[in-house]
Subunit: 152 residues, 2 copies
């Protein structure tokens, strides 16, 4: 299960990305429209800003706006930001690899082998799909097949 924090982050991002170009949205407005605790949302928006995804304007008539275009922000990136590694095992994480304690041999670990498949399947989708895709409902079939397995 993803955390509430991540869920709120997605809602907020979708809201900001859906706003007319150049128009900013205040945290209070987002909170009201999506029933998110306001102060909690503020922290989340701040994280999104620190991550370089959102831009903010302070003061009266301030608010939030996309910094990076919505089609460059993947679900995987946002989820990682709030919930940590996507991988089901530390030894399967690319971004924050860590061997399991007491692991004798990664190559021979059946658990790793099985979860690697499952993880790879969902990882590819979360990595490929962006906030923009979600907004305009681009169908799943349009995801280009990932050829480069080398980096895995």
């Amino acid at each position: 299960m993803i955390s509430n924090k991540a869920k709120y982050a997605f809602r907020a991002l979708l809201a900001v990305a859906a706003a007319p170009a150049g128009e900013s949205l205040t945290s209070a407005e987002i909170a009201r429209r999506h029933s998110i605790p306001h102060k909690f949302l503020e922290q989340i928006l701040l994280d999104l800003k620190k991550a370089g995804i959102l831009e903010s304007r302070r003061g009266k008539s301030g608010g939030y706006i996309m910094l990076r275009p919505a089609d460059t922000v993947s679900f995987a990136e946002v989820l990682r930001l709030f919930d940590g590694p996507l991988a089901p095992l530390p030894c399967l994480s690319r971004q924050s690899y860590r061997p399991c304690e007491d692991c004798i041999s990664e190559a021979q670990c059946e658990i790793r082998r099985e979860f690697a498949r499952a993880h790879e399947a969902s990882r590819r989708i979360l990595e490929a799909r962006t906030i923009a895709d979600a907004l305009n409902g681009r169908p799943f079939e349009a995801i280009p097949a990932e050829r480069s397995r080398a980096a895995s």
Copy 2:
């Protein structure tokens, strides 16, 4: 990330399933061989027994043995048993469905739509792969395509 408990459960199950037919394994032996805290493992084995996956014999020369054949025990089942629903959102869980609070329309929820794809991909693999598959290294390609989408 899956819990330590689930990881231990997989290790233990693989060990019991790998034992020669009819031969039982004691919790102490499994704990020793896989560096799992003994008393903690006992709880886990008990859960596996209550779930009808393992069988136990008490007393001297007791131990654990598979109750159900290893090729009927899926990774999904074991993971659910210890870590709860596989679904990233409550509204995506088949076994323990629950709407998100404050959800206005499931059909129109972009977050649900995106995560549904990712979840379905890994769910199918975890559901299809069994302890027996993991043990004899049956290649992933051999998984039969799931045709019935109706139950989704």
